[in-house]
Symmetry: C2
Subunit: 145 residues, 2 copies
DNA sequence: CATAAGGTTAGACACAGTCCAACCCCTATC
DNA sequence: GATAGGGGTTGGACTGTGTCTAACCTTATG
């Protein structure tokens, strides 16, 4: 099981999800996880911090980064690198790719199930693939480029 | 013609290349272009600045960034976003993808000619594709992950 | 209770990249 | 060959993301 289908996240089942990934579910971690998993959006660290700090207790910048890096390490979330100025964190760990709207900065998922990539070279020996990312950068056709 | 085959770059034919792209070939711009095009490597802004400042005159950080952004605008080079901490600049504007070694940070090209990608969704109407980037992240198989 | 380990915090820090106002250099014009 | 003007360059200040550190808090355990 990589991802049991939870349709509605609560702070309780999120705590459970953290535990099954070997993460001690503290107050702050649950809030940060909740921010990511209850929305299904790609959020940057500062967006997450803003969301978390509008409710309940304050959470520091250090904790936000500590927690996101912990979640990454434990493969609970993924990192999406499309914008040179900030990293997006992606609660969807199923295989998928991304479409990035250069105009709005909006990032949307492309299901990997339908996509086939052929003709890639074989890896140098002793190397293994960690991930393959595909990013399609798009813009409105009337926009000046 | 997108890219005439220049096997050996000199400061002279580089000045010519800049001119054909509508760029006034100044001293600094030629040096920065030479750093990128004579190597066929992916360099970051600080690497370029280091290279340029070991020979001839000094070039400021502002000029390095101004020039790289100008080159990007004029489609003389491409930007490769794989590492959250820095942008790489790619002198190769032919269609190709990238393999990124997470251990060493080394970035290598994958020729696009052999690669086929099928099953991508159609774009939302009014949108055009600016680019499609594929990044294969690899690491040594013995490395702790 | 005492202790220790783990978690959180504010604030200092590092670093990539941008901005700005002053300056420089080159060319055109007289 | 003086002058002016525009494009290019510059140092330095600044911004924003992300990291580090040392102190502090919390919780489980004996």
């Amino acid at each position: 099981m990589t991802n049991m289908e939870i349709t509605q996240y609560t702070r309780d089942n999120l705590a459970e999800k953290l535990r099954t990934h070997g993460i001690n579910p503290t107050h702050q971690r649950i809030e940060i996880g909740f921010a990511l998993f209850s929305r299904h959006e790609h959020l940057s660290a500062d967006q997450i911090m803003a969301i978390v700090n509008t409710r309940h207790s304050e959470t520091s910048k250090a904790t936000v980064y500590n927690t996101l890096n912990l979640f990454l390490e434990k493969k609970l979330i993924r990192e999406v690198i499309v914008d040179p100025s900030k990293v997006f964190y992606d609660p969807n760990t199923e295989p998928h790719y991304h479409m990035y709207d250069l105009e709005s900065g909006r990032l949307t998922d492309i299901d990997a199930a339908d996509v086939r990539v052929t003709g890639l070279p074989t890896l140098p020996s002793g190397m293994v693939t960690e991930s393959m990312d595909i990013v399609i950068r798009v813009r409105p056709s009337d926009a000046a480029h």
